[in-house]
């Protein structure tokens, strides 16, 4: 018998005892639904955890600095990061951290963004009060950082806007009502690094006849406070700063930084502006190690936190396994339902099986017919269960979010149906059904036609 005929006959047989087969199919659907709901919950939680980690900005970021093998300060931090210096790092000539270097890093595969981490001392004056503090800078892409989830006010309107974000504690030192500062103008006093006589020739430099280096000039700049933040992005890992400027503005200010002084003292001519450190944002957290190695080979110092997503993934493999097993229990019960339904069907249709054998059906034909019935129930149950599982997951998610909202928490997507689960659920359901059909189909196929025909 051809498969198409077996399927057609199976379909009509299933319709004959519609109630019983519908109940069995519903049983499979419930099993598949519980599996789908569990696995999609696991997948959703995994995505949530990944999202949170990514938004902390800690695990997809590499901090790049001038290679300083003799300096102990960074070495200590490297140890906490669980990294040791690679041989390449020791051998490659040191590279200055300038705009050329930044552009080069931008082209390393897997790098999403490279921006300078500009940090300088400045005084912020609001009305009669003034405080000296460390200014920091962040690019527009840091908008998604979880530190800004509780931001009061708004983020920078553009990469070069004359705007500032203040840390709440710092804002409190400027005003008794920190949030009243939002929208107000404050004045930033800072030291600008001004190059000396940019027109001078190389000969004069070489002769050492003119002064070299740069002058430091006090400047003022009016800034609008756009927001107050409760915590600092990147968990303060990049050093504390009480006020953040957009990176574009920070570059344009040409504020004097310690790195410039270091270069000058170290024998440079001070004409070449350098960054204190660069921040490399990697597109995929799992590529951090690889990108970091490449950066080191180029002669820069670099460090990152261990890829926390790796251990997270391991955790979720176990969690998904557990959820999958719990989900499968219902499917196992449903499988027993299929066995029961088909065994009953074999008993009821003994005579029919005998007739079919008498008019030329082989054992394989009979077996195929029962398998087709099992597969059809599995397919229908799988599709129905997938839909049901989706609905369960949807309500679980909606319910959780209503709870979160009622308790003033930001809402989260805790549930996700990955595309592979759709195919897997249906294939798995059909396979379980076929396995359940093994015994009944075998029993039907082995039936002795003479005895079967005698049966009424």
């Amino acid at each position: 018998m051809k498969i198409a005929d077996a399927v057609e006959l199976a379909g009509r047989n299933l319709r004959e005892s519609a109630l019983r087969n519908t109940l069995t199919t519903t049983g499979i659907a419930v099993g598949v639904a519980s599996l789908v709901a569990m696995v999609s919950l696991g997948a959703g939680l995994q995505q949530l955890a990944n999202r949170r980690l990514t938004r902390s900005g800690l695990f997809n970021t590499i901090f790049v600095f001038r290679q300083q093998p003799r300096e102990r300060g960074f070495g200590g931090r490297r140890e906490t990061a669980g990294r040791s210096e690679s041989p390449a790092e020791a051998q490659t000539p040191r590279r200055p951290l300038d705009e050329d270097g930044r552009l080069e890093l931008q082209h390393v595969a897997g790098v999403a963004e490279v921006y300078p981490d500009i940090r300088f001392q400045g005084e912020i004056r609001a009305g009669s009060k003034a405080e000296i503090t460390t200014m920091g800078s962040i690019p527009p892409s840091a908008r998604d950082n979880d530190a800004f989830e509780t931001l009061k006010g708004s983020f920078f309107s553009s990469p070069g806007a004359a705007e500032v974000l203040l840390r709440r504690e710092f804002a409190e030192s400027l005003s008794d009502h920190p949030e009243s500062l939002i929208g107000q103008e404050v004045t930033l006093r800072y030291a600008e690094r001004e190059a000396i006589k940019p027109g001078q020739s190389a000969e004069e430099y070489d002769a050492g006849t003119v002064g070299f280096g740069f002058s430091v000039v006090p400047r003022e700049r009016a800034l609008k406070v756009v927001g107050i933040m409760d915590q600092e992005p990147f968990g303060g890992l990049r050093g504390n700063s009480d006020a953040l400027l957009p990176t574009g503005l920070a570059i344009a200010l040409h504020a004097a930084q310690p790195a410039g002084l270091r270069e000058l003292v170290g024998g440079g001519n001070g004409q070449h502006e350098q960054y204190a450190s660069l921040v490399v944002r990697v597109a995929n957290p799992s590529a951090v190690q690889q990108v970091e190695d490449q950066i080191k080979q180029k002669g820069f110092g670099a460090f990152s936190l261990l890829d926390a997503t790796k251990s997270l993934r391991r955790f979720f493999v176990i969690l998904d396994g557990f959820l999958g097993i719990f989900g499968s229990i219902a499917l196992a019960v449903a499988a027993l339902g299929i066995v029961n339904t088909l065994v009953m069907s074999v008993l009821e249709r003994r005579r029919e099986i005998g007739i079919m054998k008498a008019i030329g059906a082989s054992d394989a034909d009979v077996r195929r017919l029962f398998f087709a019935e099992a597969a059809a129930m599995g397919l229908a149950g799988g599709a129905l269960g997938l839909a049901l599982g989706w609905v369960i997951g949807f309500f679980l998610n909606t319910g959780t979010n209503i709870y979160l909202r009622n308790h003033q928490y930001p809402t989260e997507q805790i549930w996700s149906v990955p595309w592979w689960l759709i195919g897997f659920a249906i294939v798995f359901s059909v396979l379980v059904s076929l396995a359940s059909g093994l015994y009944p189909a075998g029993r039907a196929a082995r039936l002795d036609p003479v005895q079967a025909l005698r049966y009424d």
Partner: protein, 247 residues
Amino acid sequence: MGLQMPNQSLTNPAAEAADAVSTPAINADEVTRHYTMGGTVVRALDGVSLSVAAQEFVCLLGSSGSGKSTLLNVIAGLDRPTSGRITIFGQELAGLSSEALARHRREVMGIVFQSFNLVPSMSVEENVELPLRFAEVERAERNGRTRQALERVGLTHRLGHRPSELSGGEQQRVAIARALVNRPRLLLADEPTGNLDSRTGEGILDLLQTFNRELGMTIVMVTHERSLAERYADRMLFLADGKLSAG
């Protein structure tokens, strides 16, 4: 062959058939079939040897329990003999796997039962079509052959009906159409008129006789009604206690 010849040479059927057409339709050689029932051995067939020539119409007569249905089942390949050999159109059944036996059944023979044995959930047309599905005949050809078979038994107006909506005679004609649809060379009928009144029964036997004469189909029919056998069969075989006997 083909004429009504009752009572013809009942004493030595094997020798009689051997003289007939080249390959015999059925050749049974010392066939036994024993069952064990509650510790005692029942000899349903006890050394039966017979030969049926191609295109012959043979009736197997005997009282109930004489072993005639068992003999028919063994010839059909639905049951295997305990010992002895059965050859159908030169093909020995003992050597065939159950798969090959099934193919043999659907290609070489058609079977009709006393209780019709139609599938109750299927329409007349679907019942007749069923053997063609097992034979993997293409759908287009299936439809044509099903109609043709139903035409032969005069039931084209009942295609969509279920067996329960038909009279006994009509049901048996559907069963005959189903047995015919694979164009078998051998038709085995187990008391085909047993559940029918005598007039309807005669109609069924008229049909079988037509197939025997017009299509050259070999027919072996089990019955306990001697009068019918005498009217229709070329030859009668008598079975008692699992053995062939003389009338």
